[in-house]
């Protein structure tokens, strides 16, 4: 229903933005109105944004670790969608901020606003100590998807593993292209921001609506299978000091929490100690995969380097230079003042500058593609290695990196219900180590 409403709301504005070139009014003498730009926001508004982010993060931490309240997180999600989403139009956005940071680190002349640095760093600092509290209810993208989740279905483990690589690939894509100054693809291909802005390219609007429709059954599809900032938070959460625990004291291994998690983040206890032949086999496989890792990185970088010139043609400057050279070799009179003809006219004013800019941009793309290819090789290699490493777990517990700290699992735990006084202690299952009561 929400998605349908969004579709209707967006329908009127989206096509209007893409009308180019403007109509020709030379015969009637009509003057096109001058495009106006909105006044800049006052400095205190930027500081207010940072303060609201810090406050929301602190509140999320309190709700997750102290209150253990799903209801509190639900209301915080609504606030985040309203404030960071629809009011702030999804900007400044922590998901796009890593690109600004990457661009600034490689371009000393570029200064990043303080708000962007804060939106990039604060959720990561929180994740280093307390996991993905930002994803829980502060990120408007995640909060919106969480709110539309009505009937969660389980994604098979093999598909979850395969698709779980995509955020890291998208992260590498965004950072390598931003760092080389080739573009900010994460912002360009963000499907949720057009929903917040009630405007955007038709393709991204359609993708956004589809993401929300899919999110009715698959929990947070963008967060789990696409979000590049989520990939960074996942890495940070792996080394976090504190993490979400389902049970306040002892786990009875009743598996209720496993069914309560719509994001496939619950991990079951590891089976006992493996026998020596299995351990030897696992070690040999791990050694082979570790040896394969640099090969995958080198192969990825080589493939990316080869694909670079072709990918560079997506850049408008390179594409214009190609068209310009083609026009020089076989001139075609376009006649009509199409956007292509107008751009070629502009190119003829300074062909040397255009070709130089195109060559520079092509070089950047080749470097970005090589970096990206190497990164993809690294991600695939590390994923293979991680699949062959066994983590010992005594109880059911959320995966440090995959858990969004949404607090859904808390109330599913009988021990938590006993703690809250919602269930008599005698009715709760006993820990696995203790004998269960038998009804006569």
């Amino acid at each position: 229903m929400v998605s349908t409403l969004c579709l209707f709301a967006l329908g009127g504005e989206s096509p209007a933005e893409q009308r180019f070139p403007p109509p020709d009014f030379t015969e009637t003498g009509h003057q096109l109105p001058v495009t106006t730009t909105p006044p800049p926001r006052a400095l205190w508004v930027h500081y207010l944004d940072v303060a609201v982010l810090a406050g929301a993060l602190a509140l999320a931490l309190w709700l997750i670790y102290k209150k253990r309240s799903r209801r509190g997180l639900f209301w915080l999600s609504i606030f985040s969608v309203a404030w960071f989403g629809f009011w702030k139009k999804g900007c400044v956005c922590a998901i796009g901020a890593p690109q600004n940071v990457a661009y600034a680190l490689f371009h000393p002349e570029y200064a990043v606003p303080l708000t962007v640095v804060a939106f990039f760093a604060l959720p990561l600092i929180v994740a280093l100590f307390a996991g993905r509290a930002f994803c829980a209810a502060v990120c408007p993208h995640g909060a919106l998807q969480d709110l539309v989740l009505v009937k969660p279905v389980k994604v098979p483990a093999w598909l979850e593993h395969a698709l779980g690589v995509l955020p890291f690939v998208f992260l590498g894509f965004g950072l390598s292209f931003a760092a080389t100054g080739s573009g900010f693809p994460v912002c360009r291909y963000d499907p949720i921001v057009p929903i917040f802005r009630l405007n955007g390219p038709s393709l991204m609007v359609a993708l956004g609506v589809l993401t929300l429709l899919l999110g009715l059954w698959v929990g947070r599809p963008y967060c789990r299978f696409a979000c590049p900032y989520g990939a960074l938070l996942r890495l940070a959460a792996l080394v976090s000091r504190w993490r979400v625990r389902v049970t306040p004291d002892s786990c009875t291994q009743c598996r209720l929490c496993e069914n309560a998690c719509p994001f496939g983040a619950m991990r079951e206890p590891s089976p006992g100690v493996a026998s020596p032949p299995f351990v030897r086999g696992d070690r040999r496989r791990l050694a082979a995969l570790l040896g394969l890792l640099p090969v995958l990185v080198a192969a990825g970088a080589l493939i990316g380097h080869r694909l670079g010139p072709a990918v560079a043609k997506l850049d408008p400057t390179v594409a214009l230079a190609e068209r310009f050279l083609q026009q020089q070799q076989s001139p075609v009179d376009h006649g009509l003042m199409t956007p292509e003809a107008l751009s070629l006219q502009r190119a003829e004013r300074d062909p040397k500058g255009l070709l130089q800019a195109a060559a520079e941009m092509r070089g950047r793309f080749v470097l970005a593609c090589a970096l990206f290819g190497g990164w993809v090789g690294l991600v695939l290699g590390v994923k293979l290695v991680s699949l062959s490493v066994h983590v010992r777990r005594a109880d059911f517990e959320p995966d440090r990196g995959a858990c969004f700290a949404c607090a859904r699992c808390f109330r599913s735990c009988p021990q938590e219900l006993v703690r809250l006084g919602l269930m008599p202690a005698a009715e709760a299952p006993r820990p696995a180590s203790e004998p269960q009561a038998v009804n006569a």
Binding site: R41, L43, A104, E109, V239, S240, R349, D350, G353, A357
Partner: protein
Amino acid sequence: MNAKSPSAPATRREFLRDGARYALLAGLAAASASLVSRRGGALPNQTCINRGICRGCNALPNCGLPQALSFKQATQTGSIP
């Protein structure tokens, strides 16, 4: 008495995790500090003060906003007189 300090890491894995966490934190802090202390930071929070019109703007020399960078590049290459 053989009590451990509550803050001491209990296992080798926790020790490595602590080390990685503080290394990442140090890297993040260093990168953030370097970005915030840039020369362009002299302009209040890099907010445009002239409605996106760069020509004749007093803040242009220190401005690092994308529009200003494009303007500087265009004036250097001569595509804008």
